[in-house]
């Protein structure tokens, strides 16, 4: 697991070779956190590839960039290929000579054998770039669900790419310019959806896509997509029991595949069904206590530690828990720096801290991420189910409702419900996804920003995706949407950046593509049954994990950000959102911001999520667009573990409830 970066220049553009070498090194230095163990570069004529390595498999010989037998194909690779042994055997049979036992080399030979289609054979998480000297071609691909990031920019005939945007920004041909549409998207969704980024010119390769560059021609194409289109796979003769049995088996296989590692390995344990399922399977497969890591908050009503402790006792894990103290404010800047973009999901904070803690003990962790998108775990699916009844309201009345809701003041109770009810199905779902509603966003932006946006509407991109006939079933349709947007944009981005910030690799067994393809074939009615979410998963893990975890109420928002904003973070929030620098930027309508701050302070409304978004947006501007502070901010100013949290409790092995 690593960080990669590189660039391919237009033939004939003469850059001094020492400058190319310096540039690629800088691009890699800035993501040293992704791979502190080693670095490697390949610079030839107009191509430069670089990587920072976090050694996990084949510690001794797995150095990158790696080439084929005659040095005509070079690869830099970030990720893990779980079926590499199987592929390797087949390739050796066909006469390929392996010089290492790493998964990286497997891709090289597979590419030699199958060309661009090699990507279809890979099972795991990956983002890689292959330079094919024979063809003068660059080939890049990103895994199916988007676990590993890959960004690129095509400027002045140079393709610049890298795991993180901060790498790209080191290249002298890059300019830092804000993409205003992305800011609008960010305020709506809390992240910038693929393929755009918060920077103009910089794009993200969407999950399941590949890219080639040959003779100055760039081609970006999909090689895989979620397939909920059902009829062929849904087999009416199969009963629920068959699905449950196979699901169990596949989960076990996914977990087992992800246990390969030459360095210590553990798991994040939140005490929810997903992570407990993963830990339970690990405990069964590993034959020694699993190292588990949990995080809680000193504000007790947000404390999830009790459930995690229950699970830890049940599976006799080597359990470590951690309590975030309000001193966490120091983290805000670090987190923004690691995200490269404005990012509003506050669960970045606990993920960041738990990664830091886990890194003291292990280098690889398994997590339960993706379970909610796969099995239908979010409350909003239920809400949508209920509100589907609104579809039969005549459009005239709907328009009236919309007008009524708009006429109410921003803080009026019921305003959001009225608006939501007045919308047609696609818009309604987008509305319920939004961090900040379209109306509230309109009020928050300054006139100038709004003018700059013109007719751009953040919901449009979603509406297009909504129109894809992914599945006739409404739930599957929503799951498809979430898997294409929220999952890679929010969840997986957060997990990758926050774990890699501390040089720790996260693996998500529930997002194995074989498992996904199977779950897609399960009828929607078995996932969401009445008021019960994730029904099929609950059946599959019954008996495997404790009853009280299966039946625990779904907890929403786990971070006491509201309390922090009224206490510890108050000054930072207030100063950052109202000082001269922010005002002069002119992005936001200062009066609206003050009103939001005021209402939150008086406790009239809980605007914590809005405010966190605005805070990270401003800090991002300062760190990445206003250059002066960014220069001083040459790397993550990592706070020591002691300053972030207190109460590391190591639970002795073998304690039972």
């Amino acid at each position: 697991m690593c960080g990669i970066a590189g660039f391919v220049r237009q033939a004939g553009m003469a850059t001094p070779p020492e400058m190319a070498r310096a540039t690629i090194k800088q691009m890699c230095d800035v993501i040293e956190h992704r791979g502190p163990d080693d670095e490697g570069y390949f610079v030839r004529d107009d191509v430069a590839l670089g990587m920072r390595r976090l050694s996990i498999i084949d510690l001794a010989t797995g150095r990158q960039p790696m080439s084929n037998e005659d040095g005509t194909i070079w690869i830099i690779f970030n990720g893990e290929i779980y079926n590499h042994r199987e592929l390797r055997h087949a390739l050796i049979k066909r006469g390929h000579v392996f010089s290492t036992r790493s998964d990286t080399e497997t891709i090289v030979h597979l590419y030699e054998e199958e060309g661009e289609r090699c990507v279809e054979r890979l099972r795991g998480m990956f983002a890689f770039a292959i330079w094919d000297q024979r063809d003068h071609k660059l080939f890049m691909a990103r895994d199916r669900v988007g676990k590993k990031p890959l960004h690129y920019a095509f400027v002045r005939g140079t393709l610049i790419f890298g795991s993180e945007i901060k790498s790209l920004l080191q290249h002298p041909a890059m300019e830092r310019k804000v993409n205003p549409n992305a800011i609008s998207d960010f305020l709506s969704f809390g992240y910038v959806p693929d393929p755009a980024t918060a920077f103009q010119n910089i794009l993200r390769l969407p999950p399941g896509f590949a890219l080639t560059l040959k003779n100055g021609h760039l081609r970006v194409y999909p090689y895989w997509d979620f397939n909920y289109s059902g009829e062929s796979v849904h087999n009416p003769t199969r009963g629920e029991g068959d699905y449950v049995a196979q699901l169990r088996e596949l989960i076990a296989e996914s977990v087992r595949l992800r246990l390969e590692s030459d360095v210590p390995l553990g798991a994040f344990l939140s005490g929810g069904i997903d992570s407990t399922t993963v830990v339970a399977t690990m405990a069964r497969e590993m034959g020694r206590p699993v190292k588990t890591f949990s995080i809680g908050f000193s504000e007790s009503d947000y404390d999830e530690l009790a459930y995690a402790r229950t699970a830890a006792r049940h599976f006799h894990t080597d359990h470590h828990e951690f309590v975030v103290t309000p001193d966490v404010c120091k983290l805000v800047e670090e987190i923004v720096w690691h995200h490269d973009e404005p990012f509003a999901d506050v669960s970045s904070i606990p993920t960041y801290v738990v990664s830091k803690m886990a890194r003291e003990h292990v280098t690889v962790v398994l997590s339960g991420d993706g379970g909610d998108e796969l099995f239908g775990g979010y409350e909003r699916y239920l809400v949508d189910d209920r509100r589907r009844g609104f579809d039969c309201i005549p459009s005239v009345i709907r328009k009236g409702l919309l007008r009524l809701s708009r006429s109410l003041p921003q803080s009026a109770y019921g305003k959001n419900f009225l608006r939501n009810a007045s919308l047609a199905a696609p818009a309604r779902y987008v509305d319920s996804l939004c961090y900040i509603s379209e109306d509230a966003k309109h009020a928050l932006l300054s006139d100038e920003t709004r003018r700059g946006l013109g007719n751009y509407n953040s919901a449009d991109a979603f509406a297009n995706l909504f129109a894809v006939p992914a599945s006739p079933d409404p739930l599957d349709h929503l799951l498809y949407l979430d898997s294409k947007t929220y999952l890679p944009g929010d969840i997986l981005t957060k997990v990758d950046r926050m774990t890699m910030a501390h040089s720790i690799e996260a693996r998500a067994p529930l997002l194995d593509h074989k498992l996904i393809e199977f779950v897609q074939s399960i009828p929607a009615g078995l996932k969401l049954r009445g008021r019960e979410t994730k029904s099929i998963l609950k059946k599959a893990v019954a008996g495997l994990i404790p009853e009280e975890i299966i039946n625990r109420p779904k907890q929403g928002f786990g971070v006491p950000i509201r309390k922090w904003f009224n206490g510890e973070l108050r000054e930072l929030l207030h100063d950052t959102l109202t000082d001269k620098q922010t005002r002069e930027r002119g992005l936001l309508n200062q009066r609206a911001v003050l009103a939001v701050l005021d209402e939150h302070r008086r406790g009239r409304r809980d605007y914590a999520v809005h405010l966190w978004g605005l805070l990270t947006l401003e800090l991002w501007h300062r760190g990445f667009i206003d250059r002066r502070p960014c220069l001083r901010f040459s790397g993550a100013k990592r706070s020591s573990l002691e300053t972030l949290a207190a109460g590391v409790a190591v639970m002795p092995e073998g304690i039972t409830a």
């Binding site: 001094p16 310096a22 002045r156 002298p172 300019e175």
Partner: protein, 429 residues
């Protein structure tokens, strides 16, 4: 006979004005004589002040630096007031020493050339008859509190504040309660008499010195290597320029605390061979003529000599739009302007200028024409006028003390009164 006559004439000249009009005694106080814009202007002024009309004395916090050599013959002795800290007993001692010197020598006017001279001179002149001219030549010396509040204190207590650009005047007026009448704008003087060296010859000399082929093009920056001069942006811009332009080299003239850091930055970018650090140069003003483009990358500036000198030498300037720069350069007319702290914009403008041979020549010519208005003679004359004005108001005030009912009107003129009176008249008005 001849000799006798000559001597007689000399004696006559020196004594005649003294009899008619006593010479105001002006004490100049300066931090040191290192190479820098402020020091350069002070030395040029000291060279040219009419000693027949003014009795000029010189004192420094430390008599260090090469520029003193240029005026050593004129000012063989320099009183020293070595200040090491604002907060120790030595500071008090130096203030008292300066005060007793000014009282003993009956100094009329104290001309403090920089912040540290002001911090020493202002307290020393309190409750004496010495009138103080303080100088502010930066928009802001630094973010340090002592610099911000110290400058405010100086500006408040000085009788006149000499600034070298409109931008600084505006800054003082908008950030403190100093009355507008106290602030005098005198632009830096340029030594226009000196013939600027021939561009091609200087270019070739520079090539020879650096061991380069004559077809290379030079982008130069002349500034102390300090944070506020923005060298890091210059270096970052350099690699961006190199990416799109062939045969371009960068010359960094000057020395300073950041030299190692900036050199390391150039090496880190892999452009060490393209960026030449030539250190402090006594012939800096000559070097401009060898550049194809001269750059000012400062984050803030008063009235930069580097820009003036480059324009005089007939070189196109790409400068950050800070402080007094905008009074010298109009974008695309007398030079090129870019926002500060923005390497991308700086690189774009340099690349553009390099590509547009014709436009660049026209701009350089217009710039050269424009700066002719800033002559050294003009600067000296303006300072002398300031001395005269301060001296006469001082005398009239001294005269009016016994008979207050007499020239009251004059004494209460807003520009002439003592600080306390000025304040009183200010509040009445």
């Amino acid at each position: 006979m001849n000799m006798l006559l000559e001597r007689k004439v000399t004696i006559d000249q020196s004594s005649a004005p003294t009899n008619k009009h006593p010479r105001p005694r002006v004490l100049h106080l300066i931090n040191n004589f290192e190479i820098g814009g402020t020091e350069r202007q002070a030395v040029e002024l000291l060279k040219r002040l009419d000693t027949d009309r003014y009795d000029v004395r010189l004192a420094a916090l430390r008599n260090l630096g090469p520029l003193y050599g240029e005026i050593a013959a004129r000012f063989p002795s320099v009183a020293e007031f070595p200040l090491t800290s604002f907060y120790d007993a030595n500071a008090v001692r130096q203030v008292l020493r300066l005060r007793s010197l000014m009282v003993r020598e009956q100094v009329d006017i104290l001309h403090a050339h920089d912040f540290y001279a002001g911090m020493l001179g202002i307290p020393a002149a309190q409750y004496t008859r010495v009138r103080v001219i303080a100088s502010q030549r930066h928009l802001q010396l630094s973010d340090r509190r002592v610099h911000i509040w110290g400058q405010r204190l100086i500006n408040r207590l000085a009788h006149r504040v000499l600034v070298n650009s409109e931008a600084i005047r505006r800054r003082i007026l908008t950030t403190s309660g100093v009355s507008a009448e106290k602030i005098v704008v005198i632009n830096n003087g340029l030594n226009l008499l000196e013939q600027p060296p021939a561009p091609q010859a200087t270019h070739d000399e520079l090539c020879h010195e650096l061991g380069l082929q004559p077809e290379v093009r030079f982008i130069g920056i002349v500034a102390r290597l300090r944070e506020e001069k923005g060298h890091r942006f210059f270096i970052d811009a350099a690699r961006r320029v190199i990416l799109s332009t062939d045969n371009v080299h960068f010359v960094v003239v000057g020395d300073g605390p950041l030299r190692h850091e900036i050199q390391a930055q150039a090496n880190r970018f892999g452009i060490g061979a393209r960026v030449h650090f030539v250190g402090d140069r006594m012939d800096a003003s000559r070097l401009y003529a060898g550049f194809d483009v001269s750059v000012l990358a400062s984050l803030h500036e008063g009235f930069p000599n580097a820009v003036l000198e480059a324009m005089t030498a007939g070189v196109a300037v790409v400068a950050t739009a800070v402080g007094g720069v905008t009074e010298l350069i109009q974008d695309n007319s007398t030079g090129y302007l870019v926002p500060p702290a923005n390497a991308e914009a700086l690189a774009q403008r340099i690349t553009f200028a390099l590509g547009d041979e014709k436009g660049r020549a026209a701009i350089a010519a217009r710039g050269c024409e424009f700066v002719k208005r800033f002559s050294m003679g003009k600067m000296v004359k303006a300072v002398e006028t300031l001395y005269d004005e301060l001296y006469t108001t001082r005398k009239s005030e001294r005269n009016c003390l016994p008979a207050l009912e007499g020239p009251v009107v004059q004494a209460f003129q807003p520009d002439g009164a003592l600080p306390r009176r000025a304040k009183a008249s200010g509040s009445e008005a």
